[in-house]
Symmetry: D2
Subunit: 337 residues, 4 copies
């Protein structure tokens, strides 16, 4: 941490700042410039920099060390590759997860899974517990939904991805699910993240609707610091003033995260746009930008889907897209799984 | 719900839409205009309007009934007034809650509480479980914190306001706390909201960092629909591109919410601005805009506060502010409690 | 400017940075800390800090001097008070400007002006050249509009405020208008700003829809650096995801600007909310937050206004508001003009 | 336009609304539903829908016809292809414009142009008049800059793209420039747009920093309605809360615009990200999303560029990118020019 003093601030001010900082357990290193004095601080704990900025004569406080450690490239320079059954995310691999928004029934899931598997997909998604804005909307099949998706995944040898909403659901998910998804609305449900740090299954954290990339990495840090090193991130659109799309998919998050962190970053173009005819171009774009995975909503009968049919591809559309993304991945040096 | 067809859309299209809608349980009422056909839909359940918009010939779908019912003025035209011990929120009353960000120790809480009580404050705030962006930051005293704030509040006859983070904490909060605060990051933790719908204590829901007012009212709806009718809302700033303040306090939310809903709306200028010297003007502004309550961070020794000292007022600053807001409340026909 | 090097960066890196910086005309002052080296830079010209951040071993570059000089408190600690005819803005004065969105006709302007003057208002607003999103919308009366508003203002001894859109209109405005308003869409029309720096009439710069406060001050700097020291700022709402109001009025900009700059800051609650019933509470709030002026749309017959009738108060509503804001101004130590 | 009345609103209300609307020149068509009455409105002029929403008993007003006409697909279903010298934008063609941020000197421009031409680029960019946030920053070489870029472009047979800032510059641009760029800050400089509607050269309109797609199309409408049908749009990033990139490049604008409008849409990944190492992945992504053109900053010596060197590619980086985008364009059925 560096404390920049106001130009020509007097000795007394500087001494008081040093005093304050040392009381907080830091070691201060004063270097007086021609115009400005800068105080370097080593050691000490987490501190709110505004507390120092309020002291007399202080101009600005700059944190040098980033708040995330385990999630950062400094801690682990090489890419984290997460492998689940026949699919890999990270490094040179781009894993593709597909499936309906919600698990509706065994026949529905079987129909989708069969088609997806034939196309080449190795991981299936489907919600059993649904976070719905309205208390009056369908809330998911619950445990029965998890049983159905597991059964179907086992039949076609696929990995299961589903969203967990609460600590008490962990045992259920440990039984039925391979990759536990934390939804955008729970990105800063810190108690849930802490608990997920203690399990030994991969966790995929969606970016909160207005989360900065730094906050997102801090949420990953919660899981990592609990001991679980298999964390994936998933960009799913941020909230802006533009209303023609459900959210604004921030694809530049891909190269930004890949520079700062070793964790795989996936993209969800279905929630990111909310509109079926935008899913295909944005999936291709995400691949071209070098993402480590995609999660795409595919439904065998979108018109009759219980939820989010409007943003679901048909298996036929998806087959065409699969072909395109394989070609584009090849250009950017990635292998689609 | 109204379905607006494309200009001059043909009979077949219209029939398909009617068919689709009736299968979903709606009764369709077609009215053919000179240029455009409009289909009114009555009955039916929650439906994703994008599903209809994808049908051939459909231009736009407009929801007529708002998604929140119990939270709306249509359901309950008169203001909800929430009374807890000696303080009221809503109607002509503006309740003021003050206290430190975090419960640090008994002497600290006692010192603050005594001063606040002498000024005239009847409700004290203080966090025992803290939602922190970093897993390495201080996470609160936990149950001990709740015991301390309860003890102090009883001594000075004040109500206790504290933030709950998780379902498993409910029994603790029922024992020690009078108003349960749901933080901005948990505004859409639907499982928690559902459980809070079953208790008989007031719940204060902070607005999520990028939540629309409609989503916020829907979160209130979760609690209300569980049977708990004592819900308060609290504006605490939204996230924008402006970085000179921690958040952008949206004071226009006050008259907007008061028109749509009967629930009391409070304002938190401390988190809304993040800077001590902005708290006083924004508190005065919130009162002038007619808010039903304020929640303000006050610390007896802000420079040594464990957290958010930078946005805490001293008791002396607060005493001056108290005087101002009483005068302003008088101008706008409100009574500060 | 301070250049923070990466921890333990080697001599060669540091030397290259010093070399680069000195070529750009800066004098470098290296201070080696235990962990980190910091290079202070004095002199030099405007430089893009990203250019330095791209050099090997550089962690971050911090600008110490703010980009605006003449607009800042450092340059001029005391408040700028702008006086035009019988009205003052800044310091202890809060000037109130009122009038219709658009000049429609002489009888309309006369009717509004008479009522406003009787209430106590000393400055009238009215658009003659209108920035309209659609090329098919009414574009204003042009010079005739300016003649009408001048005539009416002279009759009732009021100052005239009107929006200028283009450099070629300056001579017209010098003849008819007292305060030249630069609209939000032109806040970064730098050529226009430069020209306005050469005139000797006050200029009021509205904040751009997504402008940061720093950019806004930089736009003021354009006018100030041309020699015109009579610049006022006007907050009129920023664009966010919330759609219940036309814009989100950022009232915290008032204390932020007042700390950074000596220039008067006004608030436009009419454009800031876009809804008549929100104008009164937000006007009161702006006054309570200590603004140096208000600009409010008032129309004698809002239902038949050519534009923005929906956000215009009637003279009767305005008279009530006038009474309230005088009382609130008194609480915060301001005098309404 | 459709006016949706409140449920069970009475006859008197409905009559008053009809009366109001007919006075404004609309023909009203009332259709009474079981629950709700809907009033269809035909004819009439541009009207502010809030004026109607303020009438008693009105619930909501919905505009059926979009505000842009000439820019819309309804008016012209087939893609507009703009051809300038050896380059085409729109339809199956993706035109690539490259060059430095600013024209610095003849040798600099010649060096860049030669390399770009050898790679295959047919259009060169370079600013002569620069919109700078600070009045103290380099403002461009002016006419001399235009002369230099024209000379170089003629030597290598390339088209010239440069930014125009003001009406009075039009004659100069007609002499030296092939495609006139309107910058993000001038997207709603309506007077400038109107004048550009009268010339016979292509105009490229950058999206304003917080402009919605609809407003952007309305700005195109200003030019189109003046008679100039050669308009291109250019996405360059919107302002959000995320600060790791200069702006948030909204690539979903590509499919959204292509559905609504026949005009070519380009992408500027250099300003969109502000960081050299993000330009390559985002350029590839834009191509994969199907854009009709790219405009990329390339400088022969980025470290010594007068401006925006941090976001400029070297010719060598660009050559690699050129290869990639040709392959990706092939996958999505586009031809890079």
């Amino acid at each position: 941490m560096l404390i920049i003093m106001q130009p020509h601030s007097d000795k007394e001010c500087i001494e008081k700042v040093v005093d304050f900082i040392e009381k907080k357990g830091f070691k201060a290193h004063v270097s007086e410039g021609e115009i400005q004095t800068v105080i370097g601080c080593v050691g000490g704990k987490v501190i709110d920099k505004r507390d120092i900025e309020l002291l007399n004569g202080v101009r600005e406080v700059i944190k040098i060390t980033s708040s995330y450690k385990l999630a950062g490239r400094t801690f682990k320079p090489e890419d984290t590759v997460i492998e689940v059954k026949n699919i890999k995310f990270g490094g040179k691999y781009t894993g593709v997860i597909a499936g309906p928004c919600t698990v509706e029934s065994l026949p529905q899931m079987d129909a989708v899974a069969e088609k997806l598997k034939n196309i080449g997909v190795n991981a299936i998604r489907g919600g059993a517990f649904k976070p719905r804005t309205s208390p009056y909307a369908f809330q998911g099949l619950g445990e029965e939904g998890l049983q159905i998706i597991r059964k179907v995944a086992d039949k076609y040898d696929m990995a299961v991805v589903s969203e967990i909403m609460e600590i008490s659901q962990i045992p259920l998910f440990m039984e039925y699910v391979d990759i536990l998804q934390v939804g955008a609305r729970n990105m800063q449900n810190f108690n849930l993240l802490k608990e997920l740090g203690t399990i030994n299954k991969p966790v995929m954290i969606k970016r909160g609707m207005s989360a900065t990339i730094e906050e997102w990495l801090m949420s990953a840090e919660y899981v990592l610091s609990g001991g679980n090193r298999e964390v994936m991130l998933c960009e799913r659109g941020i909230r802006t003033f533009e209303k023609m799309t459900r959210n604004t998919l921030d694809l530049s998050a891909i190269p930004v995260v890949q520079k700062l962190s070793h964790l795989p970053i996936l993209v969800d173009p279905s929630h990111g746009t909310g509109l079926r005819d935008k899913v295909t171009p944005m999936s291709r774009a995400a691949i071209a930008a070098g993402c480590d995975g995609l999660i795409i909503e595919v439904h065998n009968d979108p018109d009759n889907a219980i939820c989010d049919g409007a943003q679901s591809l048909t298996p036929e559309d998806f087959a065409v897209l699969w072909n395109d993304i394989n070609k584009i991945a090849d250009v950017v040096g990635k292998v689609v799984q």
